[in-house]
Point group: D3
Chain length 248, copies 6
C-alpha cells in the first residue's frame, strides 16, 4: 500500500520529520510518499495561510497522487479537505477529521491541544463543520513548539501533560487530541500523566487513511464529492489544470 | 492481539457466522473470541429487546473480557455501549458508532441500510446521541434477512444494491453503511452497483476496535467513562457482580 | 385508579419509603402498588447500574402491571423508559421526564439538584434526549444522602437550599428540580429559602402519571412505542418472556 | 381551588363554551372563572391579532386574577404567555405549552392538528421557542370550525380523525394534539379511530394549571419571570397600569 | 424617500431625541416621520411592557404609515416586529434584527451592550428567534442611562467603552452592538477605545430600512408575512381596526 | 467612496459585466474598481475551483485594495471570505453573506435560486456556517446561464420566475435570493411574477459593502479577524507575500 502524505505548508524540514514519524508508525507494509506545498506560508496559523494552503494541497495532490492508494492531508485543520476529496480518485483523509472521529470512540467529550492561538476559532469552525460541536469539550492552544521541545524536552513534556490534564479536569474532556504533526509521537510519552486517553493526530490520521485505502470502491460517482464537470483554467500548474480538465 | 466480539442476542448460529466473517477480515494476527448473550431475545428489533441486550452485553463482557485487548460490540445499534465503556478495563467499540464515524470520512451525508423497521427510530436516536444527526441523510430498513439471502442470493443482492442506490439518488447520501452483522461481507459485492462508497459495518467495527486496542493508554481515570465506585448488587451473574464490586 | 410504582434498584427499604411518600401525595383515590427490581445494583449511580436497571424495570413491569392504570418509573434518570413505554399496555411515565417537562412551565431555564456525581453527565444526555438541552441551566449533584438527612436534618436542609439558591443565582435557573425519590417531600420545606419555584420529582412524576392514566386511549398502535412483533427469548423471567412473546 | 381561564379573543360565546367544557373536565372541586379579552380581534388567526391578544390577556389578568390560584391562557398559541408569567403573582399556564409537554410523555414525535392556516408558521415558531422542535413531527391546520362541527358533526369527526391518522401515518407522529379550545372534548370521540394517543389541549391545559396551582411556592423572586421594577404608563386600563406600577 | 420611525414606548422626549439623531444620520434625501406609542409603559424593560408595546407599535403603524416607504421599529428588542411585517404594506425593519445581521458581517461572534437587565434574557430569546444564537458571544446590560450620560458624559463614555472591551476580551466578541436608541451616536465616540468594530443600532436600523425601501416589490403575497384574512375586532383604534379589516 | 469588486474567477468578460451593473446600481458617488482572479478556473462550480478561488481572491485583494474603502467579493458562495476579512485593512463583504442576512429581514424563511448544481451542497454548508440553516427554506439550482439569457431572454425570465414561484409555493420561502453576479438586475424584472420579495445578490452585496465602508472604525484589532502575526512565504505574488509579512 502506498500513501501520499501532503504537508501543505512550505517547510521541507517539517515534511521530512512528519514523514519519518509516519513511516515508523505505519510499519513496513505501507510506503509513505511525502510532499510539501510548492507555494504558501512557511507555517499555517491564520485564515489566509490556510486558504492558500487549500490551493497548495490541491496542487500537491495533482502532482503526486499517481500510483497512491490514499492520501493523508497532514496539517491539523485540514485546509482544502473537501476540495481534495472531490477531485481525488483515491480516498483523502484529513488529520483533524480523523482525530475527531476517533476521539469520539473514547469519550463523550473530547478536547484538542494544539499550538497557535488562531487555530482556536478556526478549529471550532472546523469541528462545527463536522457536526461534532456537541462532542467538543474545548480547545487549548498551549502546545510547545518544535523549538521548545528541542531546547528542553522534559519541560515541554511536562507543560504538554499539564495542558491535557486541564482539559480533563476543568473542561470535562474524556479524551484529548494532540493536534499537529509536530506533536506526533508525544501522546505515548505524556499518556501516563493524563487521566484520560491521549490521541496522536498523526497516528489517528494514518490509521484512518489505511482503513480508507482498504475500502474496495471508494470514489463517489454522485453527490458533492464526485468529480465535477471539466473546467478550463489559467495560471495553475499543468498538473492541477489537468486535474480540473483532463483534456488540458 | 485478542479481541472479544460480543453478539448480545442469544442466537449462537449468528454469533458463529459473525465470528467467521470477523476472523476472515481481521487476518491471522488478530485472535477473535466470540460470545453470545446468556439471556434475552433471539434477535434484537425492539426497544425492549435492546434494553435487555444492554444487560446481556455487560454480563458477557464481565464473563469473557479477561485477556482481551479490546471489545467489539457486534449488534448494529450498540445496546449498552456507554455502560460497557464505563466498566471495561480495555477499549469497547460499537459496530454502529464505528460505522457512522467512518462514513463521515467518505461523505458529507451518509445513509444507513439495515433490516427491521423498528431500528429506524432507534437508530435516529442513536445517531442523534453521537451528535451526527446533521450528517445523516436517512435510514432505510430494507435489508434482506439471512434467510432471504440464503434462498436467492442474487435477488437479495439486487434488492440490497437498489436500496443503497435510492439512498444516494433520493436522499443525497454520499456514503452508505450496510448496518448489521448479518450483512457483513456484502459491501464488496454490491459496491460496483452503487454510485457512492458502501461501508461494511463489521469491517468498520473491526478496524476501529483494532485501532483502539493499539492506543497505549486507553482507560479513562476520570470523567463519565472511568470506573465508578463499587456497588453491591443482587441477582446478577457472579462475574458481573464482581465487575460492579471487585470485593464481591 | 391504581398506579404501579417501579423502583428499579434492589433496595426494598427505599421502595417502602418512596411508596409511603407517594401514597401521602396521591391521596385516597389512588392506590399505589410499589415494587423493587428483582436484580441489579443496590442503588443506581453509574452507567452500568442504569443499564441493568433498564432490564430490571422491564421485568418488574411484566410481573406487576396487571390491573394497573399507569406506571411511574421512580428512579430519577428513568432507566429503560422508552422500552417500558413500548411494551406496556398502559401509560408509563418517568420521574425525570415528568419533572423536566413540568419545570418548563415555571421557568425558561431550569436546573436539577440531585445526588451522585455520575448522574451529571448521564442526566445531561437524558435531557438532550428529551430535546430540552436549551432549557437546562445546569445540574448540581450536591444533594444530601438519606443518611445525611437522617443524621442532621436541619443542616441537610440548609445545604440543599443553598444548592438550589446557587442554581438560581449563578446558573440563572428560573425553576429547580429536586431530583430523586430520596428527596421527595423536601421541596416544600426548602422552597421558602429559594428564590425560584422548587419542584419535587416524585410529585411531578405522580401528577403526570395520574394525568396519563386519565387519557382515554393511550396505547399507540403505530410508531416506535407500539408493541413490536413477538420475539422468542431465553433466560428471562417467565413474565418478561411472555411480554416479549405472548405465545410463550 | 379557583382558576382564572382567559380567552384572549373578544367573542363571548366562545368563552362561554370553553368555560362550560372546562368546568365539566375540572370537576366540582375547581371553580373556573372565565373571561374574554376586552379588546382585539373576534378570533385570533394572524400575527397581528395574536400580538394584540397578548396585551388583552395581560389586561384580563390584571382585572380578574384577584382570588385565583392559577391562570389558564386558553388560546392555543398562548399569546402573551411569558409576559403573563412575569407579572402574575400566581402560576400561568398556556394551553399550547401544556399540550406540547404532555404530548412528549406519549410520543417521541408529536403532531398538532388545529384550524387556521396562519397558525402553522406561528406554532412552528412557538414550539421552537419551547425548545421542542426536535420532538415535533408536523402541524396540520385541517380542523373543522365550530360551524362545520355544528352543521354535520359526524362528517366533521370523520375529517378530524382522518387528519390525525395522516399525522401518524405520513408524518410519524406518535401522539397528536387537538389544538384549540374549539376542539375541546373531541379527543375522546375520535381517539378510537386514530392509531396513536390523541390529546385534548383544554384538558392538558387544565391538568397542568391544577398541578401548577398545587405547587406551594411558585412565584419566582429572581430571573426573567420575577416581577420587574415598577414602571409608569399611559393609556392602559387602571388595573393593568396598577399591575405595572403598584403605586399607581 | 419617507420613513416612519416608531418608538413604541410613550415618552415623547425620547422619540424627539431619536428622530433628531435619525435625521442627522439619514441625510437630506430621507424624510423621517417619528411617532410614539399612544399607550403603554414610559420605557420598555420587561416582558409585560414589551407585549403591550407590540400592540402600541401596530396601532402607531396603522395611524401613520400612509405615504411612507418603509418603517423602522426603533426600540432595541423589536416588540411586535413580525406582526408589523405581516400587516404593513411597506417594509418594516427592527433596530435589533438589523443590528444583529449587520454585526455578522464584521465578526464571527458579536456581543450586545445595552441597558436594563431584563433585556438580557429577552434578547437571548430574540436572537435565538433570528437563528443567530451560534453567532452571539454575549449580552451585557451595562449601558449608562440617558440621565447618566447627561450628568457626566466622559465618565459614561469611559464605562461604555470598558463594557465593550470586556465583550471583546472576555467573551470573544469580534463586533459589538450598542443596542438602544438612547445610545445612538456614541459608537463613533467610543470606537477608538474598543479593539473591535462597534455598531450603532440606530444607524444599522436606518441603513437596513433604506435598503428595504429601495427593493422594488417588497410585500409578500404568500407566506406568514402576507396580509391575513380580514377579521372584525372591538376596542381598537379605528385605524388599527381598519388595518385588520379594511371593510371596517 | 471607492469599492474594490473582486470577481475571483478568471473570466474578464464576466468581471466587466458585473462591474457595469454594479456601477449602475451604486450611483455616481461610488467608484467601483473591478478585478478578476489572476489564476484559477474560468468559472467556479466545484469545491476545487472554489478553494483555488479563495487564494486568487486573496491575491487580488493584496494587489488592488490600496485606496479602497471596502471590498465586495462578487462570487455567490464567497470563496475565501473569512481569510479576506482577516488580512484586509478595510471591510470585506461577501455577496452571499450579504444576501442571506438581507433576506432574513424580508422572510422567516428564504430560498436561493442560482445556477450550477454543485452549488447546492456548497451553499448549504455556507449557510450553515453563517448559522442561518434554520432560516433557509431551500436552494434551487435552476437559474439560466448567461448564454441562455442572451439567446431567449423572455423564456429565460419566465423560467427564472417559475423557479422562484416554486420556492415560495412548495418550499415555503418568504423571500428569494437570485444568487450570482450573472443574475444581477433580473430581480426587478421577475419580481412582479413572484409572490414574495426577490433579492438581487449584487444589489444586496453592494448595499452592505457601502454600509460597511461607512462604519468609522471597522478593522478588528483582536479576535479571529484581526491581522495575524507576520509569516514568511514562498511562491506567492509579491503583493500577497507582503500582505502576509509586511517586512517582505
Amino acid at each position: 500500500m502506498r500513501l501520499l502524505l501532503i504537508n501543505p505548508n512550505t517547510t521541507e524540514s517539517i515534511t521530512d520529520l512528519v514523514a519519518a514519524r509516519a513511516r515508523a508508525l505505519a510499519g513496513p507494509d505501507v510506503e509513505v510518499r511525502a510532499v510539501s506545498g510548492r507555494f504558501g506560508a512557511r507555517y499555517i496559523a491564520s485564515r489566509a495561510a490556510a486558504a492558500i494552503a487549500g490551493h497548495a494541497a490541491l496542487d500537491a495532490l495533482a502532482a503526486h497522487h499517481d500510483g497512491c492508494d490514499a492520501v493523508l492531508l497532514a496539517c491539523f485543520g485540514d485546509p482544502g479537505l473537501m476540495a481534495l476529496k472531490e477531485v481525488s480518485p483515491v480516498p483523502v483523509v484529513g488529520m483533524a477529521e480523523a482525530s475527531c472521529h476517533l476521539a469520539c470512540l473514547f469519550g463523550r467529550q473530547f478536547s484538542i491541544v494544539t499550538g497557535g492561538e488562531r487555530w482556536d476559532p478556526m478549529l471550532h469552525e472546523f469541528v462545527a463543520g463536522l457536526g461534532l460541536s456537541s462532542r467538543l469539550a474545548g480547545i487549548r492552544t498551549v502546545a510547545p513548539t518544535g523549538a521548545e521541545i528541542a531546547a528542553d524536552p522534559e519541560r515541554a513534556m511536562a507543560l504538554l501533560a499539564e495542558g491535557c490534564r486541564v482539559c480533563a479536569e476543568e473542561d470535562g474532556a474524556e479524551a484529548v487530541i494532540l493536534g499537529g504533526a509536530g506533536l506526533a509521537g508525544l501522546a505515548d510519552r505524556i499518556g501516563p500523566d493524563v487521566p484520560v486517553p491521549v490521541i496522536c493526530s498523526l497516528e489517528a490520521g494514518l490509521r484512518a487513511t489505511v482503513a480508507a485505502a482498504g475500502l474496495q470502491r471508494s470514489k463517489a460517482m454522485s453527490g458533492s464529492l464526485a468529480r465535477s464537470s471539466p473546467v478550463a483554467s489559467t495560471g495553475l500548474s499543468d498538473e492541477l489544470a489537468r486535474m480540473l480538465d483532463p483534456s488540458f
